[in-house]
Amino acid sequence: MSAVAAGNARGYLQRAPNPSGLADVLDLILDKGLVIDAYVRVSLVGIEVLTIDARIVVASVDTYLRFAEAVNRLDLSQQEEGLMDLTEGGSERKTKGAIEGAKEAFGGNGKRDGEKQKSRK
């Protein structure tokens, strides 16, 4: 967004807490890399939780109705306020839920579950 001046761009990028990155790069470690298929010996316990990110949005009546519903309940009067929030560095709050959900894919804790439920409605 153009409201952000050059040189003031720090703090928007979420860096992994440690260099190996973990939870969000699981698919990388589990699906990529050299392999001889006959010798893969991974326990399937826990895989479901780990690959939950693989859900794909499909075009369907259900999806369309969900989008229509989402647009209907959208409070468009927030738009102005949202822009002001950004200039004050207050944008963090709005997107936080999605980020934490992604970060804590591993923990299987309440935040992740919360995100799942939200996306089902």
Partner: protein
């Protein structure tokens, strides 16, 4: 029957073993054959459990090995008899592994994941298309039953708008970061609420410059999009030789 080994990856012979505890806390070592070395360790009894600790250990061993020489990482959970490591991996794929290690020298992988906030993106989409705003206002005053098909139509248009916005943002981000990478991989499909996933092969010396560019991209995309950057990682996304066993039959 030869002993089984957990295999982390392949590197060059003649380099020090990585000083790092691996899967199930077992120390990794090198199994040298010809000019190549498999990075190996004792396997767990039974299947390898993809626990947080084990997945981290797999990556940590590879990262430690990358400090000494280029590394071609194996996928998590590969357990092979020692003679298979020798014949099916280090001998059968030798030339291809040599080339691969040469190509990967001095390079690391960075993973970018861009997640979008649905409400914020919907606001952008509706604001950009007055037609959607009008449809929305018309539907809001009517009974749900009476407007079933209209609501489907609105949802379809919104879905298209979201996809257009997502694709445009993804393209913009890729264009901004492409100059800092040697190679770039983007999966065909992304999970729900993810605008973009991309793997970048980057020169170690260029990581800081890449990060700066990613910070600019993240600032521009906020608040509707949130960018996450992971790594430096072993180049998992840039080692595909196909199934190595098939490669062995072909050669």
């Amino acid at each position: 029957v030869s002993a089984e080994l957990y295999v982390y990856g392949v590197t060059r012979a003649g380099v020090p073993a990585p000083h790092e505890d691996g899967v199930e806390g077992e120390r990794a070592r090198l199994f040298v054959h010809g000019g190549l070395a498999a990075i190996v360790g004792p396997p767990p009894a039974g299947p390898v459990v993809p626990s947080r600790r084990n997945l981290d250990a797999h990556t940590a061993v590879l990262r430690a090995a990358m400090r000494n020489a280029p590394v071609a990482p194996m996928r998590f959970g590969v357990v092979m008899p020692q003679d298979a490591v020798e014949r099916e991996l280090l001998e059968a794929a030798r030339e291809r592994l040599d080339e691969l290690l040469q190509r990967l020298d001095g390079l690391v992988e960075l993973e970018l994941k861009v997640v979008y906030d649905e409400d914020a993106l919907l606001r952008e989409v509706v604001a950009a298309e007055p037609r959607l705003m009008r449809m929305r206002e018309r539907l809001r005053g009517s009974a749900e039953d009476a407007t079933y098909y209209d609501r489907i139509r609105l949802g379809e248009l919104v879905a298209e708008g979201v996809e257009r916005a997502r694709a445009a943002r993804a393209e913009r981000i890729l264009e901004a970061l492409r100059p800092y990478a040697v190679e770039l991989r983007v999966p065909d499909e992304v999970p729900a609420r993810v605008a973009l996933k991309a793997s970048f092969l980057v020169e170690e010396d260029a990581v800081t410059r890449f990060e700066r560019a990613a910070e600019d991209v993240a600032a521009e995309a906020a608040p509707a999009y949130k960018c996450h950057l992971f790594g430096p990682l072993p180049p998992f996304s840039f080692v595909e030789l196909g199934d190595l066993a098939e490669a062995a039959w072909a050669s």
